[in-house]
Symmetry: C2
Subunit: 232 residues, 2 copies
């Protein structure tokens, strides 16, 4: 049983501090078709790892398959997460390959085939059920959040803010759709909903609450994490 | 006199809300030499615009010229800022060309010459004194913050966190250095300190406190801002 890297234990501890209560969001940076950087705030959902390999963490967030970040990830499947926890004054930068897990009904290239992807590949080998995970994460969202995947394509133009009032406001849990409308909405939401999996291979942790400030770089070489103290 | 774009007025208003008190930081996304996205948290310092052109805002943050983001900006002078204000649940994504203003003693290519750069070029034409601004922003920082530019190169490895205790802890204001050591430190800090100027040409504003959520895309065409309501 491989051990948890120090940064993962520290990140989990920081995330559970009361002063970091609302800091479960981070910025996900991608590269677009013009090679320009793009970045947006997303909600952190989970940290996974292959069974028996706590040393190979994967951060899980979610998206709508129709957003620009999905085509950006397909075009360039490496990303950086920047997680600023203002309560405890910690910054975590997490860099690595990324994979999408869309609906089985949606044909997008969901594997970063050309990327070295140790943790994700190992979960595949272990027969991890990605579709079950996708459904579980979807079902864990609020009814209001579930409805956000029933909107027209994110970023498309509309005539007025009032148009949003016509869109579905809630979508029930799986197995609880009663009306035809609820069933249709649930299907549409599930078709648009995708997991985004970021495999950590480089982590840069800055601790600004420490005086003098501390900064540590963790680099995964094979399955081992190397830890270096660096200048903040 | 051109008028302030609506997003700029709304951003300034949001930033002044008591619930956004500690939210004067954002993530600056760049592209590195491998075309990978990189992103880190920086502190917002100011919004500038050419005299008489409130419609051409430039966001100002700062850096150490020895950091990787400086070579990344030189290699690819377009960036995106992601500014999440958790208090009011607003996200601002601000995309555009970027320019560095280093010390006159440091020879780096500080102009994004190939970039369309209306606001920055106009400030040049108006004879704006960038070096004076650089000194003013430096002098407005705390003595502790000023000392952060006297450290060894950011990101370089050190043997232990204790090494940081040997570095200068404070640097006095300009004109107030008395000892030789203070003078040396001030010189070194000023040599490493640079402005980072991001000219806004695309702004994406999401308002999650509004129900239903609202999202607006602002695009600068020439000197005019086009505003579109888009799907969140």
């Amino acid at each position: 049983m491989a051990s948890t890297p120090r940064w993962r234990a520290a990140l989990t501890k920081a995330l559970n501090l009361p002063e970091n209560k609302y800091q479960n969001v981070y910025q996900l940076a991608t590269v677009d078709a013009n090679d320009d950087p793009r970045s947006r705030t997303v909600v952190h959902r989970d940290i996974l790892s292959p069974e028996g390999y706590q040393n190979l963490p994967i951060l899980l967030t979610t998206t709508d398959v129709r957003t620009p970040k999905v085509s950006q990830i397909r075009g360039h499947p490496r990303v950086e997460i920047t997680w600023w926890m203002g309560g405890s004054q910690d910054q975590w930068r997490i860099y690595g390959p990324v994979r999408l897990v869309p609906s089985p009904d949606v044909k997008i290239d969901s594997r970063s085939a050309s990327q070295p992807s140790l943790a994700l590949d190992r979960m595949d080998e272990q027969g991890f059920d990605w579709e079950k995970k996708r459904l579980d994460v979807f079902d864990g969202m609020s009814a209001h959040m579930k409805a956000s995947w029933c909107r027209p394509p994110p970023g498309s133009t509309i005539k007025s803010y009032d148009e949003a009032k016509k869109w579905p406001q809630t979508v029930p849990k799986l197995g609880e759709a009663e009306t035809d409308e609820d069933k249709r909405n649930q299907e549409q939401a599930l078709r648009n909903f995708a997991l985004v999996l970021v495999e950590a291979v480089e982590v840069d942790w800055v601790q600004l609450a420490e005086k003098p400030n501390q900064r540590t770089r963790f680099t995964r070489n094979g399955e081992e994490w190397k830890e270096e103290i660096i200048v903040p």
